[in-house]
Every structure is written in C-alpha cells, then in structure tokens.
C-alpha cells in the first residue's frame, strides 16, 4: 500500500498567522459591528473606546501568536498602582485621562504642550504587532496602536546638539496608591538616546487591540520600544525632555547593579537575580518549556547597528 501523499504547499503560499488572525478578528469585529448597528436604537452611542486603524504595516508583524487581550490588560507592571501584577487593572481606572497634556520641551526649537487628542491626529494610527520582553523573564506579543515617536519629535524640531530624550510618567498620588511607598524615586523617568528615540521602531502608543489604551496599560499614551526590556517603555506620559546630557532613569538610580541605561534585551547578560537566556511566553500552557530569548528581542536586524562598536556587556 502506498503512503498517504499530502499535497505540498510552498511556504510562500501559507498565509502568515497574523494575517489570518487579523482576518478572524476583523470578521469578529465586523460581526460585532453589524450586531451593534442592528441594536443601534437601543445603544445610540458610538463606541468611545475604539480607535481608527489607518494601516497595518507588514514590516511590523511578527509570526508569534498574539497574547490574549485579557492577559495584556490584566498582567501589568505599573508600580504607581502597586507591585502586584493585577494591582494596575484593579486600581488604575480611577485615574482621570482627560484633559491630558504632554509637555515637550528642552533642546528643541519649538517647545510645545500637546493635548493628547491633538496628538491622536498628529499622524495616522498604525497597528503594529510587537514582542514585549519583560526584564523579569516573561514575554507577550501585543497589537499596539500608534505611530513612530519621531513624528512627535519632528514636530518640535530637536536642536543639533540634542543627544537624549527623557520621558516622565504622570504622578497623581491621590489615584496612585503605589507612590506612597519608596520603591522608586517618583515620578517614573525613562530615557533613550536620540537615535533610539528617532528610530521608526520606537512607537508612541495610544491604543491596544484596536481600542484606546486601558489606564493600566499606560493610558492615554505610552512608549513601546520592542528591542528593550519593558521597563524602558514608560507609561502615561506627561513630559518629554529633549536633552544634551544623559538623563538618569528611575531604575538605574534605584538599583544600578540590576538596571542600566540601555536595557537592551540581551540573553548574554544575566540579570543579578535571574538569567536572561530564556523567557516564559504568557498564555502558553502551564507545563510549556521556556523559549530562548533573542538578542534585541529579535529586532537585531533593525537596531543592532545603533550599537556598533559598543560593548553591550558593559552598557547593559
């Protein structure tokens, strides 16, 4: 008896997973929209959480399965609301998100304070699927909504000698129970080198899963720097300073042995309290093995050249 022959399919004809997943999601959304339209008289209010998606650039897709929206929005490190992973999703929704402004200032020709609703219109919103690798050794795959940070920086025209950008998170003690504890020197400050900040991969994020960011994910706007550990992607931004000198970031001040300025994902440089060689993918089943961590979280092809000639073991 002959062997069962399966028809062979060239790899090029396989629909990439994000594509079909996207189609499924699109179909679900279309279904929901239809249902919504039918129910229109009953709920005559537009969905104020949805954000328009202008594009889904294929160069920002990754082949991994998306982390569920539930996990993305309930498993968060946002210490202003507490150190437990579910503290932010339980406590952050009281934080007032409008009006919200972000001051962009420092070594720029046109310092400006932006209203977040104007920033939403500054450039078309793109959906990009990024891997997120937390310094604690877990990772997610997240469909962010936003645009490259350089769109905002271009608008304020950094001066020629500006070399760094610092990002400051909101500090609202009455809504943030976590800031009463001296875990960090609040407010939270993060920083990037100018070329990192201007890199197209560095994203200013307003939404996730097609909706406005939930407060616990850093609403109304945050960074996503996918080749760096998650702590570099500051949340709920109120201030962006363009600087000539390197800023000190909250984590490198709190624990200089554990966190450097760069925070690039690097399996070869272990964290003092754990290895960085592998990671646990959130959403995998309980007994799934850890997966190897990629240098620059798999974005080395796009960003490794930023660090030519640098010893990344020293500049971690």
């Amino acid at each position: 008896m002959g062997r069962l022959r399966l028809p062979t399919l060239p790899a090029s004809e396989i629909t990439p997973e994000p594509c079909w997943r996207d189609r499924r999601r699109w179909l679900q959304q279309a279904g929901a929209l239809t249902a919504g339209a039918l129910a229109w008289p009953a709920f005559a209010r537009p969905d104020d959480t949805a954000l328009p998606v202008a594009a889904r650039p294929p160069e920002y897709m990754v082949p991994q399965r998306l982390t569920s929206e539930r996990d993305v929005t309930t498993y968060n490190n946002f210490y202003e609301f507490g150190t437990e992973k579910d503290d932010p999703s339980r406590r952050a929704d009281r934080m007032p998100l409008r009006p919200w402004t972000v001051e962009v200032t420092g070594a720029v020709s046109r310092p400006r304070t932006f209203d977040v609703d104007d920033l939403l219109k500054l450039a078309p919103l793109e959906e990009r699927i990024y891997r997120l690798r937390c310094v604690e050794g877990w990772s997610m795959v997240i469909p962010w909504l936003g645009y490259s940070l350089h769109r905002l920086l271009d608008a304020v025209e950094p001066l020629g000698d500006a070399r760094y950008v610092a990002f400051t998170t909101a500090l609202m003690p009455e809504y943030m129970p976590g800031v009463s504890r001296p875990i960090l020197d609040w407010p939270y400050v993060e920083g990037l080198r100018m070329d990192e900040a201007m890199h197209p991969l560095t994203m200013l994020v307003f939404g996730v899963y097609g909706k406005r960011l939930p407060a616990q994910n850093g609403a109304p706007m945050r960074l996503a720097v996918p080749w760096k550990y998650g702590f570099k992607s500051a949340k709920s931004l109120v201030r962006i300073d363009v600087l000539r000198d390197r800023p000190f970031t909250s984590w490198e001040v709190a624990a200089p042995r554990e966190y450097g300025f760069y925070g690039n994902v690097n399996p070869a440089v272990p964290h003092p309290r754990w290895s960085q060689a592998s990671e646990r993918r959130i959403g995998d089943h309980l007994f799934a093995p850890r997966v190897p961590t990629q240098p620059f979280n798999g974005y080395g092809g796009l960003v490794a050249s930023l660090y030519d000639g640098m010893d990344l073991r020293q500049h971690y």
């Binding site: 875990i183 624990a255 042995r257 592998s278 646990r280 850890r290």
Partner: protein, 186 residues
Amino acid sequence: MQPYGIVLFALWPALYWTGRALGPGLGADPAAYLLKSSGWWSLALLLATLLLPLLARACRRPGWLAGRRVLGLAAFSYAALHLLGWAWWECNFMPAWMGRDIVQRPFVLVGVLGFAPLLLLALTSTAGWKRRLGAWWFRLHRGIHVAAVLSVLHFWLLREGKNDLLEPALFGGALVLLWVVRRCWR
C-alpha cells in the same frame, strides 16, 4: 489524633490553588503565581510551626502540640513544590541551568541551602526516628530556625532589587518577635 483545624490550615493553599485552577484560573502567568505562592506559604507555615507551641500554651491546649509535625511537613511540602517549580519553570529541568543559577545568584543559593534542613527534618519526622535519635532529635529539630532564617533571607534578597521589602520585613519581624516571646516567656 491530629487537630483537624490545623490539618485544614496546612492543606488550604493546595485546596485554594486547585479551586482557582478549576475555576477562574491562576492568572496570566500561572507558573510565576505558583512559584511565588508556594514559597510564601512555605515560609508562613514555618512561622506557624514556631507559633503553635506559644498558642497552645496561651490557650492551655497541649493537644495542639501534635499539630507541629503536620505544619512542619506542610512547610516542607510547599518548599519542595517551590523547588520543583523553580527547576522546571525557571530551568527547564536542565542541571546545567540549575547549577549556574545556584552559583551565580545568592538568593537561589540561600533558598537551596534553606531547603536542606527542611529535608532533613522531614525525613526524621517519624516516630521511629524520634525514638532512635533520642535527645539528639530535639537538637536536630532546632534546625527549623536555620530554615526560617534562610527562608526570610531568600525572600529578602529576591525583593531587594525592586526595593519592595515590606513582605520579607514583616516575615523577618514576625520571626524575631517569636524568638523574643519564647525567650521572655519561660
């Protein structure tokens, strides 16, 4: 006869995990949750083991003393699960990874060292060993204090990097308080 309340207390974490696993689930990162919870409960049960004689005395219920073995064995069991969880979820059961983890990271080393007395005490917890060792058994079983100190230190070192020392400080404070009460209340 074992005091049933104490047995239930010792089993509570395992029952709670099972209930959560069958119901709402163990959260986005069940591995991290179980690792943390097993370690936390092991330390809590160690302290409960040390607290029980004081409680029994205060309440004049010498029958409760029998519960020390149950509580101690439960502390050992959760520590064993914690260690097993580390070996799998942190090290994929790779001896080389585990070895490297122990050598490179003081808090892992302290945790493993803290498990050694627990293992020894669990193995010698039977009536037979107690009889065979005689007076030595009591000296040996003071090792619970070594395990408690190393466990608190392990927890402290883990949280140190994140400046999040409230919980280890509370456990450490409770341990010191237990010692003081034991000493002053003779």
